[in-house]
Amino acid sequence: MYMASKALMVVAWLIFFLSPSYAESEFQALGKAANELSHSAQWNISISPNGEGLPPGQGTAAQGAKLFALQCAGCHGPDGIGASAEPLMGEVGSLTSDYPEKTVNSYWPYATTLFDYIRRAMPINAPFSLSADEVYALCAYILSKDGIVSSEAVLDEQSLPKIKMPNRDGFIAVHSDNR
């Protein structure tokens, strides 16, 4: 009895270690093909500096001004600076001064980042509540306050990535991605 079970164990051991599937890989690949998911809107929220990922839509500074007063000014201040949340407007050119202010307009290198961030995270009490048109309008308003775009500008998926931010060349990559 004992001998028989021992022999069985040896056989089981051999099957386990010598079977081709064991030799190939020590685990079972369990990922599911996700081509459709990968193309669906809810998995394509990130927006690149070249505009990839921007949804269709458009908005103006005038529309943005109204939205800003209603939905943003409470935390960011009526002029987008000097309230409980991060400053957004003004202080362009202050970065080398004794009191630098890192606002969207003084510091951010890309306007696409503004769209990306407002849509996913603001207003902070209701993320993903703004339509694409509203986000374009808010971007137009914030950027127009420091003359980065004209107050008449219409921002959309074509024009937003073309905006050159004042501090576009202000960053030095410490980690190098040269492989």
Binding site: E26, F27, Q28, A29, L30, G31, K32, A33, A34, N35, L37, S38, W43, I45, S46, I47, S48, P49, G74, C75, S84, A85, E86, L95, T96, P100, K102, V104, Y107, W108, P109, Y110, T112, T113, D116, Y117, R120, A121, I124, N125, P127, F128, G170, F171, I172, A173, V174, H175, D177, R179
Partner: protein
């Protein structure tokens, strides 16, 4: 080396006159006299908890009611209570492992309450085959454990201010914690999807109400990154990323994305808000350092430290603290009691793990003199923790992130402890 440390320590004690004090102390202690002659009633002399049955079992243990003051200190935005940080009380802890309930937190918009049955991880972008994973599948993959620190890039940022902040050690430097993380090497999952040759970066995205997104060099994910599911042996706490998070040993906290939902391989970084507007360091020339991922070597004396008192004068105190480096192992921690004029090697507690907290200890005899206690860490690459002067000289005062200068505790003649600069 061990002999050198012992010799240094002997001198450190001696210089302060402890050698004599210790021997004196030993000979003056007399053995207790047996009190049995008085015929004591035993039950009266015993503490009450030895005379009644104790509390029942508990399904999940909690700290003693006498330790209720050992807590994370929360600093949040009143207009957005889920936005802020909570600090690990490093000054109240010993050893190297941070208990799960005390691991520091940085949330951008609260702690999502994720149902694991509804959570998906998507790996896509520059891969041969986009793949999705559910939790049930992920739990079947081979796992590894890694003890390492995670430190917020903004930890210790009060150090940039002109006046030294008077707050306890953990509440100025405790946006760093150390845990054993267990999970799947990220490499396995990326390789399962098949990495295209032009992939260089990976955009990680969290499933919280900030949908936090950030770019990570692919090389790091292929090196030592974990998709963590467990923290100190139990499943992740919600505030630390339940049901899954990235752990990138030695790299700044923001990259260790919690509540991970997507890894998208790309050829360029995304330039998201948290790699441009935040977590970049403005220098005096107006340029900002970007992609400063590595957390450089740092150390901190956790005891004695601000908020404590040196009660016996003269007295022997165990100087104890933590050192860590994102580059690898800590090889040396030196202690100074005179504001950096002379240094003595502390003893490093073993095992010394790469990119993890290392506990250091050194007995110190205090004779009631004014003193400035400092610790200085060196890691295996030879990097030495800088003085505040050198750091500010190098980086200016507006970088906000990556402050790792030597911390100075002033000991007054009364035994009070203050935070000071400039030594």
């Amino acid at each position: 080396m061990a002999n050198k440390v012992r010799e240094d320590r002997r001198q450190f004690l001696h210089k302060a006159g402890l050698g004599g004090a210790l021997t004196g102390l030993v000979s003056s202690i007399s053995l207790p006299v047996w009190a049995g002659a008085e015929k004591l009633e035993l039950p009266d002399a015993l503490p009450k908890w030895m005379k009644v049955p104790g509390e029942e079992f508990s399904n999940y243990g909690q700290p003693s009611e006498h330790e209720q003051q050992v807590i994370r200190w929360i600093s949040a935005n009143s207009a957005a209570p889920g936005n802020g940080v909570s600090w690990t009380p490093l000054h109240d802890l010993q050893g190297t492992i941070t208990p799960n309930g005390l691991h520091y937190e940085r949330h951008h918009n609260g702690v999502p309450q994720i149902d694991p049955a509804q959570h998906t991880l998507l790996i896509d972008g520059l891969v041969e085959q986009p793949l999705s994973f559910d939790l049930k599948s992920l739990l079947r993959y081979p796992m590894q454990s890694r003890t390492c620190f995670i430190e917020c890039g903004g930890n210790s940022n009060s150090g940039w201010r002109t006046n030294p902040i008077q707050t306890q050690a953990g509440y100025a430097h405790g946006l760093v914690s150390n845990a054993e993380w267990t999970g799947i090497p990220v490499k396995l999952l990326l390789q399962e999807a098949g990495i295209k040759p032009n992939a260089k970066w990976v955009i990680a995205e969290g499933a919280d109400a900030a949908a936090l997104n950030i770019s990570i060099p692919l090389d790091k994910l292929l090196d030592d990154a974990l998709l963590a599911l467990y923290q100190n042996g139990e499943r992740l706490r919600p505030e630390n990323g339940y049901p899954l998070r990235l752990v990138l040993p030695g790299w700044e906290g923001i990259l260790n994305v919690k509540w991970l939902r997507q890894l998208r391989l790309t050829d360029e970084p995304l330039m998201s808000r948290d790699e441009t507007a935040q977590y970049t360091e403005l220098q005096p020339d107006g340029k900002a350092r970007q992609f400063t991922f590595l957390m450089e070597a740092k150390s901190l004396i956790t005891s004695p430290s601000l908020g404590m008192m040196l009660q016996d004068n003269p007295g022997t105190y165990q100087i104890s603290g933590l050192a860590w480096s994102g580059r690898g192992k800590i090889t040396r921690v030196e202690i100074s009691a005179d504001g950096g004029d002379t240094w003595v090697d502390a003893e490093l507690q073993t095992p010394i793990l790469s990119k993890a907290f290392t506990r250091f200890n050194l007995p110190w005899h205090w004779q009631g003199d004014y003193a400035i206690l400092q610790s200085r860490a060196t890691d295996e690459t030879g990097y030495v923790q800088p003085t505040r002067e050198a750091l500010v000289e190098n980086r200016g005062r507006h970088g906000f992130f990556h402050y790792n200068a030597i911390v100075s505790w002033e000991i007054t003649e009364e035994g009070d402890i203050n935070h000071v600069y400039g030594f």
